[in-house]
């Protein structure tokens, strides 16, 4: 049997400034009918570019410079635009990362669904509509009869992602490219989308390329896995082989990331004064309360992880602590003394003690200032150091965050990588010599290996300087790695809190349980087992709603 898709020596270049730089340096790929290939790699590995190239498509400013992409005998690289248009949507379909952005806001879901079959002359409009409803049903969308007649903004993210999968299936293609379809979703929603995609691909015996950076997800979905690194192929193997016995060092290091975990610290002495204490805080945006009576303590030298899905109020809690959003009821204590609620009323000393590190290092650093200015400003502002003394202190701080001082001090943020920028954010916080640092999703925009480096750095700094961290995250693997205590939040309320060890041992609060069990594991059978244990009707949204 000849392969459905055969990529040979694919090289792709991207234009930046005025030169063409290589993005993909020769990738080979074979995919048989009904087979699912997982394509994994960190950001910049070129996995999306390969996925699109498998459709003979490149984005603006990108071109295929060499190699062939043969789909069912047709070389998509040299084929004319008309020939490619005949295949796209009909025999090769695409499921994009963000369904909310990839559905046209001006048309109803079903109109977009029927567009491809009607335009390609696969079926008439009426049949296609009936088929859409059937597909919606198979993908377990609520109200399949009616949901297609809604506009994209009227449908939730997880449902849209399933509707997009249905749309890709409209012409019963031979190949579907899934480009990170669950990355933008919460863990509990992710499960149902994964299950739906896996079922439908199996039912129709469709070949697929599943692109993701999440190893555990790919383990559930793919028959075989290909690992990419900076445009080069690292290795390819059958899923189970790849998981149990990776050959290359890079792959091994990817697998090992998940095992980082700090030693457990002894329990906090009773009666010790917490560095920061949140006391019965209720806060509101306008008239709507978004936090309801939350309380927790943070002690010296310890990390409190605040966990929850988007909209749970964890970032709002941080805004209350910093004073950006003064609480409506309740207050914040620093070393047992109440802080003014509004940051503008706090003095320099109080402001200095609580620092913040942000999720997006890109927006957290002023792009027009050099690293020396960014870190030097708090040194000057709080410590009053100027001239050579200030420079010396900045160099010390850079050394502290493991960046070569002389090399980085005069650079602009745009000349640094994502991980380096995040380190600069840490140095800026350290420059104030605080007791307490809020880390707001600091690793979620980073690749796993880089994120691990940041976590290790934070842990070392905590041990050296006795810092207290409030670690806001949605990722339970990060919690496992760094937390001493855990606070679980949902809908603006604290659902459960306690030391990490207790939190990861049953019995749990049902929501914590759902959250914990929804985190994909590396075991390829994990999803199957989970679905069996939960029952078909009790996954994702449905499970949350039942609480």
């Amino acid at each position: 049997m000849s392969a459905l898709l055969k990529i040979r020596g694919l090289k792709i270049e991207g234009r930046s400034d005025e030169v063409w730089n290589p993005i993909i340096n020769g990738v080979d790929l074979d995919l048989n009918k009904g087979e699912v290939l997982g394509l994994i790699g960190e950001s910049g590995a070129g996995k999306s570019t390969v996925g699109l190239a498998a459709m003979g498509f490149t984005r603006d400013g990108v071109r295929i410079s060499a190699g062939s992409v043969e789909f069912d005998g047709v070389n998509l690289v040299t084929a004319s635009a008309a020939v490619k248009r005949g295949l796209l949507g009909k025999r090769i379909a695409y499921v994009a990362q963000s369904a909310a952005a990839s559905f046209n806001p001006a048309h109803k879901l079903i109109d977009q669904h029927t567009e491809a079959p009607v335009q390609h002359g696969v079926s008439g409009r009426k049949e296609s509509e009936a088929d859409a409803i059937e597909l919606y049903e198979r993908l377990r969308l609520p109200n399949p009869e009616e949901i297609g007649f809604r506009y994209p903004h009227q449908v939730s993210g997880g449902q849209l992602q399933r509707a997009m999968t249905a749309m890709a299936m409209a012409c019963r293609p031979d190949l579907i490219i899934f480009d990170e379809p669950t990355t933008a979703l919460d863990v509990t929603t992710q499960i149902e989308v994964l299950a739906a995609i896996r079922d439908i691909v199996e039912q129709f015996d469709t070949a697929a390329i599943y692109i993701t950076h999440d190893l555990a997800v790919v383990a559930q979905m793919a028959d075989k896995i290909k690992v990419l690194l900076k445009g080069d192929e690292v290795e390819e193997a059958d899923t189970r082989t790849m998981l149990s016995a990776p050959q290359e060092d890079y792959t091994k290091s990817l697998w090992a990331v998940r095992s980082f975990e700090r030693p457990t610290k002894p329990a906090v002495q009773t009666g010790a004064t917490p560095v920061i204490s949140v006391k019965n805080v209720t806060a509101a945006y306008g008239k709507v309360d978004v936090l309801h009576d939350i309380s927790f303590d943070m002690h010296e030298g310890r990390t409190v992880a605040v966990v929850g899905e988007s909209g749970s109020g964890k970032s709002t809690a941080a805004r209350c602590i910093t004073g950006l959003l003064p609480p409506r009821i309740g207050h914040i204590e620093y070393m047992g003394e109440a802080l003014p609620l509004d940051y503008r009323k706090r003095n320099k000393m109080q402001l200095r003690q609580a620092q913040m590190i942000y999720q997006m290092a890109d927006t957290a650093l002023n792009p027009r200032k050099t690293i020396g200015e960014i870190i030097g400003r708090p040194v000057q502002f709080y410590m009053g150091l100027t001239g050579p003394q200030r420079r010396k202190r900045v160099e010390e701080l850079l050394a502290e965050i493991e960046l070569e001082p002389t090399q980085y001090i005069d650079r602009l943020p745009s000349e640094l990588s994502g991980g380096q920028k995040q380190r600069i954010g840490i140095a800026r916080a350290l420059a104030a010599e605080p007791k307490f640092i809020i880390c707001d999703e600091v690793t979620s925009a980073l690749d796993q290996l880089v994120a691990e480096g940041i976590l290790k750095l934070l842990a070392r700094l905590q041990d050296e300087l006795g810092l207290s961290y409030m670690f806001i995250t949605h990722d339970l693997a990060t919690v496992r790695a760094i937390a001493d205590e855990v606070v679980v939040m949902k809908d603006g309320r604290v659902v459960e809190q306690g030391p990490k060890l207790e939190m990861f041992q049953p019995p749990h609060h049902p929501y914590t349980d759902l959250l914990l069990s929804s985190v994909p594991e590396m075991d390829p059978d994990w999803l199957t087992n989970l679905l069996e244990s939960r029952g078909v009707d009790n996954i994702g949204d449905a499970a949350v709603d039942k609480m």
Partner: protein, 450 residues
Amino acid sequence: MSLLIWIVALVIAVTAGGWLFRFVGQTATGNAPYFRDMTVSVAAGYVGSFLLLAWIAYTYVSGQQADPAEKNKYFFFFIAIHGFVAFSIMAYFFRVLGTKFGTEGSKKMFRQMPLTASFGIVIIFAYAFVALFAGQIAVSSIVIVGIIGLAISEILRRIGGDKPAATSAAAFAFILIGMIIMYFVGPIAPYGQEEILGAANVVPGGDPALGGNPDFPLGTDQIGRDILSRLIYGAQNTVGIAFATTCLAFLLGGSLGFLAATLGGWLDQLLSRAVDALMAIPSLIFALLLMTIASVWSNQIGIPLTYFMIVIIAVIDATRVFRLARAVGSSIVVMDYIEAAKLRGEGLTYLIFREILPNATAPLLAEFGLRFCFVFLTIASLSFLGVGIQPPLADWGTMVRDLAQFINFAAFAPQVAVTPLLAAGAIALLTVAVNFVVDWMLHKSSGLKE
């Protein structure tokens, strides 16, 4: 009706030519993708543009070879062609020069610069030169420019850092050196702007046999003023006043806009609503209304109307600047690094000058260009309508109005009929140049890929 038939015939001919061009191309290259995928309309476009160029070249050559009387009719056509070619060559070499000298960053900028932008910059330089040195330079103005330069770079050093201060100091030093040289060289304009030189209605071209005069290469107007000198002084007056007005508008609108964006709250609400109300009146109409009132004031208290005009247009335009500055400021204020600076306890001046302003320079600079064009056109329109820049200052809007009657001579003396268009063309050329540069800057800052 015959015109319509001609147009239709031309379109059909060009389309047919396009089809033929593509066919020949396909056959000659063995159906290369470039010709294979070319639509007929694109091919027709090539043919049409070629025909246009050929027609211009033909007119140029036949004009050059005609007898002197006939040739003189093409006087301004030749100037336009020569000027265009000369400036294009200068623009090309300017870009080449830029890629060879300067820092890595500036070299890269020049390499990516389209020729239109380079053309625009060269034109702007030419205008600035003419405007600065139109008349005799006074020693006092050299001293004043020197003091202003020092003051500005000192202010920039205090609030904006060393880099902008050095840049502004260099620019002022450059102007100062030029002024000192031109002090000895003398004015560019051969005559004074209001000087009446006796001979009225001298025909452009400078050939006495054809009613011209070599002393007045562009001729004189109805009351005998040298058109060339008035054009040169017009650059100083019209461009200078527009520039001053734009600066004033930016100072006013920009500072209020950033203040509103940074502080928010009631101040923002108040200013924004006031600006909304002022912007609900079309700007030229509002300017005309206020100018009417100002003309009464100006009579009574004896301040020239031109000063009123500067303030009025600056205020009207400041509303637009305010909108932009506020929008740009608001988009920067939500950034995490501003939040970090606020939480550090930084004051308002630091936030605006050190954190926000450096990130707003690109859009503000582009807006400055656009606003300048707008102000420039508004002033020209007001002057054209007779309520703008007042005599004795020569200015382009007024010149167009004064010379408008000449247009009726077009049938037998096209070179005379074009004279009212000179000043209008001078306005258009400068705004085109600025727009070319702004277009490039906007394109660059939007980060669009080619």
